[in-house]
């Protein structure tokens, strides 16, 4: 509308930017459900790390061959010795082909899966912000007779021209398959979007009044970048990072599915799922449980991400009010 609340300052006077976003976000039922689900998953992951590695109560490595492929909620057979009894005296999620408790493995995997998602996105955002920032802020300077901006953007183009998934496959196949390499590879192959985005944002921010004013005051450029520009460019990055985490978790599971993912002893939801595939007809829970878990976590991240996007988008927000 032309009239009415065309001046955004009018609405925002009483609230902090965060509070404002939260106000909108809170009303988004789907996004809130996602947030709650995420919180539960994070608790699960921390508990999983605690209980399966530091203070081993639930041992995902215990092999109980006679109890292989037990359906969920079934009890252990009598031949299982006391030292190998499952955590609650029965198999909550059933057992896999080696008689390991799927519940224990899922719990262990939750931390690994979540870490892969977060760390790899951290890496990609880091690279993206760095390169995009340099291109956007120092782009006019020259290096070897070519503008830095051109260098970086050509490099980004090169990176974009590799079919991402294929590249990940190749690189993962080449590197020793440690969990860190998977994180790095996913991170290193997905920074291009962020870089382009940050660059564009910086270019426009550079010309904005408050930055020009700050520059006129003679503030050092690091202060300009970190106090004034980065915080302003970051909120959309945060939104896309949330969704990228979801994508990274999916990528990991796809890699595992093709046999290139995280290798034992780490259990990830991806490789539990990949292993369960062979037993699709014999023990569907081996496939369905991790599959649903991945679906859930990815959905939660996506919902939260989309919720944030809506909440932070002033255009949509105004239209809604």
């Amino acid at each position: 509308m032309n009239d009415g609340s065309s001046d955004p300052e009018q609405l925002g006077e009483r609230r902090t930017p965060f509070g404002e976003v939260w106000q909108v976000f809170r009303r988004d039922r789907l996004a809130m459900t996602g947030l709650v689900a995420l919180a539960v998953l994070v608790v699960c992951a921390l508990l999983g790390k605690l209980l399966t590695e530091w203070w081993v109560v639930i041992d995902p490595a215990t092999v109980r061959l006679p109890d292989k492929l037990r359906p969920p909620l079934s009890g252990p057979s009598e031949v299982i010795g006391a030292e190998r009894l499952p955590e609650f005296g029965f198999y909550l999620f059933g057992t896999d082909d080696l008689g390991r408790s799927v519940f224990a493995r899922m719990l262990q995997g939750s931390f690994v899966s979540l870490t892969i998602g977060l760390v790899s996105v951290g890496i990609s955002v880091g690279i993206g912000v760095l390169l995009g920032g340099i291109a956007g802020y120092y782009g006019e300077r020259k290096f070897l007779f070519v503008r830095i901006d051109a260098w970086i953007m050509r490099f980004t183009d090169v990176a974009l021209c590799f079919p991402t998934f294929f590249l990940i496959l190749t690189v993962v196949a080449l590197l020793p398959p440690s969990i860190f390499n998977i994180m790095i590879v996913i991170g290193v192959t997905s920074w291009m979007g962020t870089a382009r985005f940050i660059r564009a944002e910086f270019l426009s921010l550079r010309e904005r009044d408050f930055v020009l004013a700050a520059r006129a005051l003679g503030l050092p450029s690091w202060r300009l970048i970190f106090r004034h520009m980065v915080p302003n460019a970051l909120s959309p990055v945060f939104v896309s990072a949330t969704i990228d985490v979801a994508r990274a978790v999916l990528t990991e599971s796809a890699l595992s599915f093709l046999g290139f993912g995280v290798q034992p002893p780490y259990a990830t939801w991806g490789n539990i799922l990949a292993d369960g595939r062979a037993f699709l007809f014999d023990a569907p829970w081996l496939f369905l449980i991790p599959g649903s878990a991945i679906l859930l976590i990815v959905l939660a991240f996506n919902l939260v991400g989309e919720g944030l996007r809506e909440a932070m988008n002033p255009k949509l927000r105004r239209a809604r009010a």
């Binding site: 092999v63 292989k68 492929l69 008689g99 034992p264």
Partner: protein
Amino acid sequence: MRTKQILLILPLLLALLLLQSALWVPTYGSQAAQNSGRLQTFIEPRLSDFKLLNPALNSDATTAEMMDRRIYDRLLEADEKLDVVPCLAESWTVTEEAYVAVRPERRLPDGTPVSGESLRAAIDAALRGPLSDLSSKLRAVELAPPGERTRRETALQQMAGGKSESISATVRVRLPERLRLRLDTVEPQLFERLEPVFGQGYFSSIDVKGRIEIDPPAAAPAFESKLDELFAVGEHNPIVTFKLRPGVRFHDGHPFTARDVRFTYQAILDPKNASPRTSSYEAIERIDVPDDLTARVVYKKLNSTSLLDWAMMGMLPEHLLNREALEREMKARQIPAAQREKFSIRDSSFNRSPIGTGRFKFVKHVPDQYTVLERNDDYWGEKPRYQRIISRVIPDRLAQELELHAGSVDRYEAEPHQAARLRTDPNLQVVSRGEGYYMYVAYNLRRPPFDDVRVRRALSMAVNVDDIIDYVLFGEGKRASGPYFSNTPFHDPETPLQPYDPARALALLEEVGYRKNAQGFLEKDGKPFEFTLISNAGNPQRKAVVTIVQEAWRRLGVRCTTQLFEFPVFLEQFVHVRNFDAFVLGWIGADITPDRRQIWHSSQGGNYKLNFTGYASPEADALIDKILLEYDRNEQIALARKLHRRIAEDVPYTFLYEPSRPYALDARIAIDAPELGPGRFLPITTTPSGEIDYFFPRWFTRADPAAVAE
């Protein structure tokens, strides 16, 4: 509004078009009804496509399965009991020519100086005396004038950084005057027996430096250790003479002759072809073709297992692959002149439209999809019942199972857990065949504490292999006790299995000096017992074994970490450069040969060779060498069994199990048995040695599934 209507109607039409197609798809039941040829067609799945359909250029199992007994025939065959029987060769004889260099610098025991004539006289005398048993076998003793022998040889050269490189050179040997002894059988002990006649030390090595010329000279150092092989005073030249089956024709009608045998050999050795089979045939000096149906294979040295190579090698048609044929092909394909020099059999289109003498003719190959073979109605032997074989590429076992249910394949090799389920399906039959494979844990004997046999034994005892067989393999397998497969005569059934006994395992480790520390882990001199167990990714069974073994050892108090690597990485970075503590792997194939030199001889411990563990036992080395010299089958078996037991006792590997591979087949497939009466048939079975495809020519699909097998 038009746009709106298009947007709504188009997707609907698309959906309808796509979904209605389901109505026309033939299902399991309707396939035979719609398509009369279906019963005459055997459809089998493969996990991956084969490479070159040329037996000289490929040695991998998938390709071999397609070629052997189907497109190509071999000179010999292994029968149901793995004995060697005729195939393209109707019969064969093994004879020998032995050469003894004349060493004029020596004197015979009676003092006469050595010359060709004096040696011959000495032999004649001996034949009447201590060597009388040879007189009937010794056809002739002749004098061969001095000459020159040129051979192409290959050796390993150590490079900087632990890498090795293969280096080839022309080796020219100036031969002295030599005595040629023609024998009717191979006499491995000939020189040992002649030694007292010619004088003690007559056959000991002589300085060969002056006689040998290596071109290029730079390669000389690499051959330093091989000099004795290049020329010796006494040289055995075993000769195998094959009488070929008359009237055999290639699929294009061209008759099969001994020249094709020779050509096949030459093709393997031609360095341009980079054949993986070279080493098996390098022992051959030459192949003579006295007539169309006789091939005389002359070997450089004793090699008792060399006959078996002819039971593993399909015969190529010379007229399609010799230089002229290749020239013709290059002309037709307009290969530029610059490329012509490099052009080899490897580049020929023959490899994708092969012609052999086998039961099936190659018809069509769609890469990575399927291959069609048609029955060869001119086949010389028993003709197969099926008119056609279609071999499909289905990269996943689960997918193969689904296709079997859908009726679009007739059989597949099931995973054990699938088989357990499929056995209850009335539409299917499940037959387990021996896979010719065993799984093991290899230890790096070069590294402590694995150099101590007690440690290796303890680790072996901690693993409950029977449980693995029962639960991971669903009973589809048996325990392995040593290096020979249990379906071969070389396997020693008396060799004891390592018992599952964690208590004794612990006792053994305590004997070595390990004690449990506060955390419950084993320690010796303050150092915990810890190491890394590795394997390759992508093999679920191996992954399961790694997990089980790790857990078993952890319960023993051993801190074992595990890692899986992609196969090429696993080999290149760990196994081949001996950078490992222990790994899980399996050995496959080569059931019919008793030769285990590559894997167990101490000379094969270097990087890139196959004695990964660095196993070095003088006793085993001697046995391995002797097996290669022993031409008597029974003696050979006895030696092999000794070797089996020796290696088993030294536990360089923890020998785990030999899995069997369940085959799930359409229940209507049976073995035709007209000898039992008209219309009679037998259910699908394996041979005593565990092979299933052996009876394939007699397999057929019954139109009437109700009939009962005899």
